[in-house]
Amino acid sequence: MAEKKIKMIVAKPGLDGHDRGAKLLSRIFAEAGMEVIYTGLRQTPEMIVAAAVQEDADVVGLSSLSGVHNYFFPRVVELLREKQMNDVLVVGGGIIPKEDIPGLKQAGVAEIFGPGTNTETIVNFIKENVRK
């Protein structure tokens, strides 16, 4: 069997257009050997999950800087579950107050990476926690 590649969707939910982080990370994930499907801006949770299904993604990475994470992140997890994609690892990043993190994790987001997180930390987290 060929070496399994990690397939990852990187998406920006909502209307926020600040994609420096999302693009930078896409590049870093690809350099770490992953296959990154970048979906672009203005993604609804439905669009993100449709992409995850069609691409059979192992990981969905969400980036939000406009304060909409409490709405969008749990919604993506919920829709993935509806599609029986429970084993997809969902991670998030952006401007997210610490106090919101427990709620997001409760909702099924595996980890939240705040501003200034070392990218290697993120790559390692994904490699360790992705479905095998």
Binding site: A30, I37, V53
Partner: protein, 327 residues
């Protein structure tokens, strides 16, 4: 398990389609059982290749063309191939970005694929992924691939109609002519016709097609259409040109010939791949290959003789065929 997936694919389930494509990509042993069972259900879809330089507008055209096909009531499967970085093994697959308008349409299935080091402009699994989409009932399957060089023209081996996208200002024609890519097109698409130089490029390509001895000898003179993908212009003409080529293939029986050739190539290639894989797996066991390599390095053995011995020992073919192969 397998039967589930097969049934689900035949019903068109996106989840099953995408999972089995992943198996194919990863050489998962579960894939081949599936493929055997869905094979009888393939051969119905019409397969379209869209190729051209990076940034020429292939994804934009795919998006617009798909909308057009959908408006005719046809379902569409899309396989968008992008290169894997030879340095990192990773890839950024960005074609979906341009297909936002069709991403949520249940009659459309989009799959991105990285080449994973496979040469020819496609991924190893592309042709099988196409079969899955075919079995899943997609009427048209669009394959987007980067095709700039001579060694990126594999698309002609799996597509019924190949559209070559050219744009003004990139020196595309000269490049493509040199690389021998010009010849692969059944339809030339001059995209970005809103840009200066488009008419000139169109004239140049038309002229070139008319002059080319090889192309002129064909029964199908490839038409040249102008498009502006971003403004949805010329898409009808592009669709018409594709349809005309399809009619020509069907009426002249060329489609059957083409597919016969393809079936033959594919079958041989599959055997080739599987044989190689099996022999390699066998030799890798218990360091056999290491030992053989050492023998060769120390000139106790030579690779030519070894190859013959291998074939003789492990293939039950007539002696004459084996030595023929060795020439």
């Amino acid at each position: 398990m397998d039967t589930d997936y097969v049934a689900e694919i035949l019903k068109g389930s996106p989840r099953a389609i995408s999972r089995v494509i992943s198996w194919l990509e990863n050489d998962d042993p579960r894939a081949s059982g599936c493929m055997e069972k869905i094979y009888p259900h393939t051969g119905r879809a019409y397969i379209l290749g869209i190729t051209g330089s990076p940034g020429s507008g292939k994804s934009s055209l795919t998006d617009k063309l798909t909308q057009k096909l959908r408006s005719q009531g046809l379902t569409v499967g899309i396989v968008a191939v992008d290169p894997t970085s030879p340095f990192t093994g990773g890839a950024i697959l960005g074609d979906r970005v341009r297909m936002g308008d069709i991403a949520m349409d249940p009659g459309v299935f989009i799959r991105s694929m990285a080449t994973r080091g496979y040469l020819g402009g496609l991924a190893q699994a592309t042709s099988n992924a196409v079969k899955i989409l075919d079995a899943a009932g997609k009427d048209i399957i669009l394959i987007e691939t980067v095709g700039v060089g001579q060694d990126e023209v594999d698309i002609i081996r799996i597509a019924d109609t190949v559209c070559l996208v050219l744009v003004p200002g990139l020196g595309d024609v000269i490049q493509s002519m040199k690389a021998g890519v010009m010849e692969i097109a059944d339809v030339y698409v001059i995209n970005k016709s809103d840009r200066p130089g488009a008419d000139q490029l169109c004239a140049e390509v038309t002229h070139r097609v008319a002059q080319d001895v090889e192309i002129r000898a064909r029964q199908w003179p490839p038409p040249v259409v102008q498009t502006v993908a971003t403004e949805n212009e010329g898409i009808d003409e592009m669709a018409d040109a594709i349809q005309a080529h399809r009619s020509y293939l069907e009426q002249s029986n060329r489609l059957i010939d083409k597919r016969r050739e393809r079936t033959r190539d594919e079958t041989l290639q599959m055997i080739h791949y599987e044989l190689f894989r099996a022999i390699k797996a066998y030799l890798s066991r218990d360091h056999r290959m290491d030992q053989l390599v050492s023998d060769i390095m120390e000139r106790r053995e030579n690779p030519y003789r070894l190859m013959h011995r291998m074939l003789k020992n492990y293939l039950r073919l007539p002696e004459s065929d084996i030595s023929l192969n060795a020439d």
